[in-house]
């Protein structure tokens, strides 16, 4: 109440001064008025009120009021972003009530593009915007959630349910096989990791997809660019926004595993001896044994608090926000994730010509505890209780069954981890309108990240105690200088020229310490001198990028638009070919501006876009082209008991000729608005060809070094994107809108080095687990193609002769002899699946009825396969597993149960089509119901808004997939060559959230 009173006083004083001023200066008649929004009747602050044909004007105050001196014949122009501009003659009115309609078409909306802004209607490239309006009704804690399902052409995959979130974002598929496919993130002009931003601070995100939009980012643009704009204050009274939510998470479903008695029967069967007596099995049946999934999974809680204050005057505006988020893990045990964030965005107008801005963001994430190894946990012996009669751990399976690994609870409950990540980003800009048509803008900034990862495995879990202390310090400095010239070249022409110079320097320093053989658990990683053996490794690296850019935007008659850009990038990571040159061009035709369509009632917008451009990818690490000698404990030899320092040759062959990966992309787009944009349709078709692929090739082990980075081959991505926006119902009570986005991408390897037909990459999955890589990169196929034998069931009784030909017997797995040579050899391994979907989609609905709002997002993926190697392992395949624990083993083949589940001990392959499954799914990603308390009620409490909401994430998933869930498994690693392999994935969660949002 006090605030309201204060505000009234301020308003009165302010209005008084204004009135006084205008009387003194002009002596014209003062006109007063209020501007409100047509949709909710709320006053709109900051609306520009200008006397048409003059530079005189004002803006509405925080209550939507304005006062201006005008003569009766003046026409006032009211304009505000997101609303239709309204013109009104003053006439004899002294008090005006202005109602602005929201501009659904949003064609005049200003969007952020690379190194500048543009009106949406003037865009020539392919760009998708996601505004905070699209996601602010759903409780989010990660930027990826805001993008998922809401931007056509963007594939956001949740790769893990671990707290803190793990997402993979791909724009228009993966170009690179071993280089990075991560998009470039630009936050308020600054290059930074997406992890550095608090999603609640985001005003809008623009996704640049085609080459004409991304070529301006040159060597870093090939994977698409996501421009993030944070919130700023608006002039007016201070606004406070408080948002609190809290909730619980559980995994979406458990796996079908055998109970202890079934498992014991399986062990007796597979070992061919009576490991369990009939009595023991009967006891297990009566007492149940241990349900490891019950022990491994738990309910987790999470909380989020977001506070912000914003406001400003004509000269200065500010936005200050703080965020706290914490979340526990759904996999035991002491995992906790906590994030703190503080942001200040300040803008000041130093004069009519000079504006400065400073964005300041600090944050910390802390992740503690380690989770149980799910791979071990799920495959653990259910006849062994987690604890013995004394309450101590049963360290291993009592009868050494299922797996020889340690009880998964031991490490989870005893190991210590404390990872702290501190970030500071500072970003300043200076904008000088040198002349009416010439603007100089310079910006620069620093992102500093300190990573401290500390872990300790105590004596009980590691035998002798082991501590790891990693300290990594990264700084990123950038400076961008831009000159924009918009010469007046006649009424029908408009021209804008940008010239830009940019420097980016990344530095990194790291120290890694490992200490083993502790005599006590008391000091953990905090005092490594308690350890007998300490090893230290460190490294220092620097990466530089210097660029020159130019861009021309030209429009003729506001119908024919042309954009051309050119960027030259010089990078330090390449030895010889340091400079890359990246041109692009695009054309657009606003057909709806042509006379024959101009006033068409049905069709209010029709635009055709065409673009071509070349972009690059420098996705290799510092020193990536060089071979580096191997040093350290692993190569020191104790000739007489004490280690002598050794130097081993590199496992990598140097390639001084290595250079950019280049992507050429063509894009054809169509934007269509019908019935005053009640329906908006946007369609894009693209084709990208990436050549000189940066390939980290594996060499055959016998030649010596095992890896070499080369430029070779060509990958093609082509696809389409459809975005359909519809305002289905809009009246006093109802407001129903819906957005559907569909993305289809086909990925194909066109060629590889010389005459090579395939390559093996993506070693992450394999690492001592499989003798053959589950995927390979093969000419003519998508980059992640699953390899394996073709499973044809089980040899049945009566097929002894056929089976004997392959040294098999009834009960053994039957594989197709593809080449018909009478043997099952590696020549019979073929492509058995593909982890890439035919298309993915997201469908967002926003339904408001009076004070209620229901917002939900359905997402889905169609036509992708999953290699369920997790199931293979649970069926006792692979190097670590002794006995099957999976429920399928109940139905194993026996002479009396002629099923198609192999039960032979030998010759069953994990890499076979037996473990290929359809990974298509549809999920209710997020559904939120909120209630906005009536303004009448709010007034009594001095509030501007109060919203209560409840939401659910991953409420249901429709899929045939038998693993935990198809989304998390769609990418177990960030390697795009390994997409769609399910092995040790952390299942994603179903969460229920309740929250409250207060504005005052």
């Amino acid at each position: 109440m006090k605030q309201q009173l204060n505000a009234r006083i301020k308003r009165t004083v302010f209005s008084g001064i204004m009135l006084f001023a205008v009387f003194v200066l002009y002596g014209q008649n003062p006109v007063q008025g209020t501007v409100t929004s047509a949709s909710d009747g709320a006053p709109i602050p900051g609306v520009n009120v200008i006397i048409k044909g003059t530079a005189q004007g004002t803006a509405t105050d925080f209550d939507g009021n304005f006062t201006i001196n005008a003569s009766p014949d003046n026409v006032l122009v009211f304009s505000f972003l997101g609303y239709k501009t309204l013109e009104q003659t003053v006439g004899n009115q002294t008090t005006m009530t202005i109602v602005l309609e929201e501009d659904a078409a949003a064609l005049d909306e200003v969007v952020v593009v690379g190194y500048g802004t543009a009106r949406r209607s003037d865009l020539t490239g392919a760009l998708t915007s996601v505004s905070s309006r699209d996601f602010d009704k759903q409780p989010l804690n990660d930027v990826s959630q805001a993008l998922q399902g809401r931007a056509a052409g963007v594939q956001v995959t949740q790769t893990s349910g671990a707290p803190g979130g793990n997402f993979k974002i791909r724009i228009r598929g993966a170009n690179s096989i071993t280089g990075s496919n991560e998009p470039l993130y630009v936050i308020d002009g600054q290059f930074a990791s997406i992890n550095t931003i608090n999603v609640n601070d985001i005003q809008s995100m623009e996704v640049l997809k085609d080459a004409s939009s991304t070529a301006i980012y040159g060597t870093r643009g090939a994977n698409g660019v996501i421009l993030i704009t944070t919130k700023t204050g608006r002039s007016g009274k201070p606004k406070f926004d408080v948002d609190l939510f809290t909730g619980i998470s559980n995994i979406t479903q458990k796996l079908d595993l055998m109970n202890a008695a079934e498992f014991a029967e399986g062990v007796n069967f597979s070992d061919g001896t009576e490991v369990f007596t009939a009595q023991e099995i009967a006891d297990l049946r009566a007492n149940g044994g241990e349900d490891w999934q019950e022990l491994l999974f738990q309910t987790a809680h999470f909380n989020n608090i977001q506070l912000s204050a914003s406001g400003g005057s004509d000269a200065v505006d500010y936005y200050i926000s703080g965020n706290y988020y914490d979340a526990g893990g759904t996999v035991v045990d002491h995992q906790m994730f906590r994030r703190l964030n503080l942001r200040t965005n300040l803008n000041a107008k130093l004069s009519d010509k000079i504006k400065v801005g400073l964005n300041f963001n600090v944050g910390q994430t802390k992740a503690t505890g380690i989770r149980a190894d799910l791979g071990v946990g799920l495959s653990f012996d259910p006849t062994t209780p987690a604890f013995d009669d004394n309450g101590d751990y049963n360290f291993n399976s009592i009868k050494n069954l299922a797996t020889s690994q340690t009880n998964p609870l031991v490490a989870a409950e005893n190991n210590v981890r404390r990872n702290i990540n501190d970030r500071i980003s500072i970003n300043g800009n200076f904008n000088w309108d040198i002349l009416d048509n010439l603007v100089f803008n310079t910006s620069g900034g620093l992102v500093k990240t300190d990573i401290h990862n500390n872990a300790y495995a105590p004596l009980i879990s590691s035998g002798s105690g082991r501590a790891d202390v990693d300290n990594i310090y990264r700084t990123n400095l950038y400076n961008t200088n831009r000159l924009t010239y918009t010469p007046d070249i006649g009424e029908d022409h408009s021209l804008k020229i940008d010239a830009i110079h940019e420097l980016v320097i990344d530095r990194s320093n790291s120290v890694f310490i490992t200490a083993t053989d502790f005599f006590t658990d008391l000091v953990t990683y905090k005092d490594l001198s308690a350890a007998n053996v300490q090893t230290v490794a460190n490294n220092e690296s620097k990466r530089e990028l210097e660029s020159f850019l130019g861009r021309v935007n030209y429009a003729f008659m506001n119908k024919y638009l042309l954009t051309a850009s050119f960027r030259a990038d010089g990078s330090s990571v390449f030895q010889k070919d340091k400079w890359g040159y990246f041109p692009s061009g695009s054309l657009a035709w606003k057909i709806s501006e042509e006379d024959f369509l101009k006033n068409n009632e049905t069709l209010n917008n029709l635009k055709l876009r065409l673009s071509y451009g070349e972009v690059g990818n420098q996705g290799i690490n510092v020193f990536g082209t060089r071979s580096r000698a191997v040093l350290g404990l692993a190569v020191n030899y104790p000739f007489d008991g004490t280690d002598v320092t050794g130097v081993a040759p590199s496992n990598r062959i140097s390639n001084p000729d290595l250079t950019w990966e280049k992507t050429k992309q063509i894009n054809i787009g169509l934007d269509l608005g019908l019935f005053n944009s009640v329906v908006d349709l946007s369609f894009d078709y693209y084709k990208k060809n990436t050549t000189d692929l940066l390939l980290d090739t594996q060499l055959p082990p016998f030649v010596g070094p095992t890896n070499k980075f080369v430029n070779a081959g060509e990958v093609e991505n082509k696809g389409f994107e459809i975005t359909l926006d519809a305002r289905i119902l809009q009246n006093d009570k109802w407001n129903v809108t819906s957005t559907l986005s569909i993305t289809g991408n086909k990925n194909k390897v066109l060629s590889l080095n010389d005459d090579v037909q395939f390559l093996v990459v993506g070693d992450v999955i394999r690492a001592n687990t499989f003798p053959v890589n589950p995927t390979r990169v093969e000419v003519g196929l998508p980059i992640s193609s699953f390899r394996g034998y073709v499973f044809e069931g089980v040899y049945q009784l009566g097929e002894e002769t056929e089976a004997a030909q392959f040294n098999k017997a009834p009960g053994d797995a039957k594989y197709r002899d593809v080449n018909g040579d009478g043997l099952i050899t590696t020549d019979d391994i073929v492509t058995v699946g593909d982890g890439n979907p035919d298309f993915i989609w997201g469908w967002n609905w926003d339904i408001s009825y009076k004070n209620w709002n229901l917002n939900f997002l359905l997402t889905g993926s169609q036509g992708n396969d999953i290699y369920n190697l997790q199931r293979g392992r649970l069926m006792a395949l692979g190097a670590q597993q002794f006995h099957a624990v999976h429920g399928d083993y109940r139905n194993r083949w026996t002479s009396t149960n002629p099923s198609n589940i192999p039960s032979g001990r030998d010759g069953t392959e994990i890499l076979s089509s037996q473990f290929i499954e359809d990974g298509s799914y549809m999920t209710m990603k997020n559904i939120a119901l909120s209630y906005n308390v009536d303004p009448d009620v709010l007034d009594k409490f001095g509030l501007d808004g109060l919203r209560l909401y409840a939401s659910a994430e991953n409420l249901f998933i429709l899929t045939d997939y038998t693993g935990f869930d198809p989304e998390a498994t769609a990418s177990v690693s960030n390697e795009d060559a390994d997409i769609g392999i399910d092995y040790n994935t952390y299942p994603i969660n179903r969460s229920f959230t309740f929250g409250i949002n207060v504005k005052f």
């Binding site: 110079h501 220092e540 030899y637 000739f639 050794g646 082990p701 070094p705 050899t825 002794f882 001990r905």
Partner: protein, 505 residues
């Protein structure tokens, strides 16, 4: 006009500002160049990884021996995760199948890594500035390990490509013939035996000329048998083994000392790999050779027929463990269960264990039995038996019979150099000597290669105990004498898989 000039000036300024501020060069001062071997210190530092590589190769005997399970001295668990070992125990290979199983590439990858390290050193030494004596010594050391790695590769997989010092990968590599491989190995060893120090004068833990000559004797013995069958090499094997004997440096330890920690750094040791005194690294022999009941992995244990045929006596007592340890590890600490041992017939694997690899086990480091005992690549008993057999092939003599009898005497717990009528023989057929070698070196990764070169794999398979849980899918023929080349190398190169790619000469 001024205005336009100003604009142009500003454009120019923007484009030129900081132009030469970044040099875009990587600071490589933190990088150690590969193959930069000049000084004495460089040489020493480049030798260390070779020894590390040899130790890593022998660290996990179950992995290393995957392709040798066809031998009659070892078998494996019928169930669990041992399917790759059973492939070879059952002879389920020979026509290119099962080249993509786990653990088969371990020996391949390890031996080739050693070769790469040796090649890098040999190449770097060509321009080294250190003293000639040191360069020659280092060159000899690299050659003996390169030769040893090649010999093992050829024994396991047949003929392999010749990748030597100064080689750059082309993608066009092809397999040489077995004979070419042998000739290369021989040429390296002939250089090494000259430059390496005589046994006893080498630095602690380093290779000596005795080691080079022993590998050479082993090469000639192999050369004389399958597949090249050049009988003239028997005499060379005998002569080379005799040179080792004639150093008068090596001895046989009393049987009760042989498997102690010190036993692998004694005068019986021709060459062994070492573990650091700070116990930061250890070997997994104990884990591989212990049953799960005793906190091991049940990878490797004797076949029943081999155990039953093994002559009684002290050597048998030190070779096999009949009371199987029964342990658990509450809290991660190995602790005996009650009863602490179980008779082998009632144990979880129903076989005896190999005692020689658990004799010096350490139960206190982790929750599995591990070893710090150095691991012998060759010990003197083998030299004596190579000599005895090779000489017997060309005509036995008193000294070759004495060599055999020395081994027999020690096996009986007697002083080995004192003739003893209770164990001494007056004559022995080559096969009898091979069998004596099988017993003496049981599970020491020798028996399979002896059976292959003497073409006696089928003979032993036919005698397999019918109660052995792992049953054969076929009677082995020469098709089973070599393992398939691991699939990764076949798929990434132009090498031709066995049997098509197997070329003798």
């Amino acid at each position: 006009m001024n205005r336009i000039y100003n604009i142009l000036f500003l454009f120019g300024m923007v484009m030129l500002v900081n132009v030469s501020c970044l040099d875009l060069e990587e600071d490589t001062s933190s990088l150690l160049q590969v193959g930069q071997i000049a000084s004495e210190a460089d040489i020493e530092a480049n030798i260390s990884p070779i020894y590390i590589s040899v130790r890593r190769t022998n660290n996990d005997p179950h992995f290393l021996r995957t392709a040798t399970y066809g031998a009659d001295d070892i078998t494996t668990w019928i169930a669990g995760n041992k399917a790759p070992l059973r492939v070879f125990d059952r002879f389920d290979y020979g026509s290119g199948e099962n080249s993509d199983i786990n653990w088969l590439p371990v020996a391949w990858d390890n031996y080739w890594r050693t070769i790469y390290y040796c090649n890098t050193l040999i190449e770097g030494l060509k321009t080294a500035t250190a003293s000639e004596a040191l360069v020659k010594l280092a060159d000899a050391e690299a050659r003996v390990f390169r030769a040893h790695a090649y010999l093992n590769l050829v024994k396991i997989y047949g003929n392999v490509p010749l990748i030597l010092d100064g080689y750059l990968p082309t993608g066009e590599e092809q397999r040489a013939t077995v004979l070419e491989n042998y000739q290369q190995i021989e040429s390296d060893l002939l250089i090494a035996e000259v430059s390496l120090p005589t046994p006893g004068s080498e630095s602690t833990g380093r290779a000596s000329a005795g080691f080079a000559k022993t590998v050479l004797a082993d090469l000639y013995l192999t050369w004389a048998g399958w597949p090249v069958k050049d009988n003239s090499k028997y005499a060379m094997a005998a002569a080379k083994a005799k040179e080792v004997i004639d150093y008068n440096h090596y001895t046989l330890l009393p049987i009760e000392e042989l498997w102690t920690f010190e036993g692998a750094m004694s005068t019986e040791t021709v060459f062994s790999v070492r573990y650091p005194a700070d116990e930061s690294r250890w070997g997994s022999q104990g884990t591989a050779f212990t049953f799960h009941q005793g906190r091991g992995f049940s990878d490797c244990f004797p076949e029943l027929r081999f155990f039953n045929d093994f002559p009684e006596g002290p050597r048998k007592d030190y070779t096999f463990l009949l009371d199987i340890p029964n342990r658990n590890a509450p809290g991660g600490v190995i602790t005996p269960r009650n009863p602490p041992t179980i008779p082998w017939e009632d144990s979880d694997r129903g076989h005896p264990m190999y005692r020689k690899y658990v004799f010096a086990e350490d139960l206190t480091v982790i929750s599995r039995p591990v070893n710090f005992r150095p691991y012998d690549l060759y010990r003197y008993a083998e030299v004596l038996l190579i000599y005895a057999e090779a000489q017997a092939r060309v005509g036995e003599n008193a000294s070759s019979i004495e060599a055999l009898n020395q081994v027999k005497r020690r096996a009986a717990g007697l002083p080995y150099s004192v003739p003893n009528a209770t164990v001494d023989v007056a004559t022995a057929t080559p096969n009898e000597i091979v069998d004596e070698k099988g017993w003496e070196l049981a599970a020491e990764n020798k028996r399979w290669f002896d059976l292959v070169r003497t073409e006696r794999v089928a003979e032993m398979a036919a005698k397999r105990d019918p109660s052995e849980p792992v049953t054969l899918v076929r009677m082995p023929t020469s098709a089973q004498y070599i393992a398939p080349i691991p699939f990764e190398s076949i798929s990434l190169s132009k090498l031709v898989q066995n049997p098509e790619g197997f070329k003798i000469q």
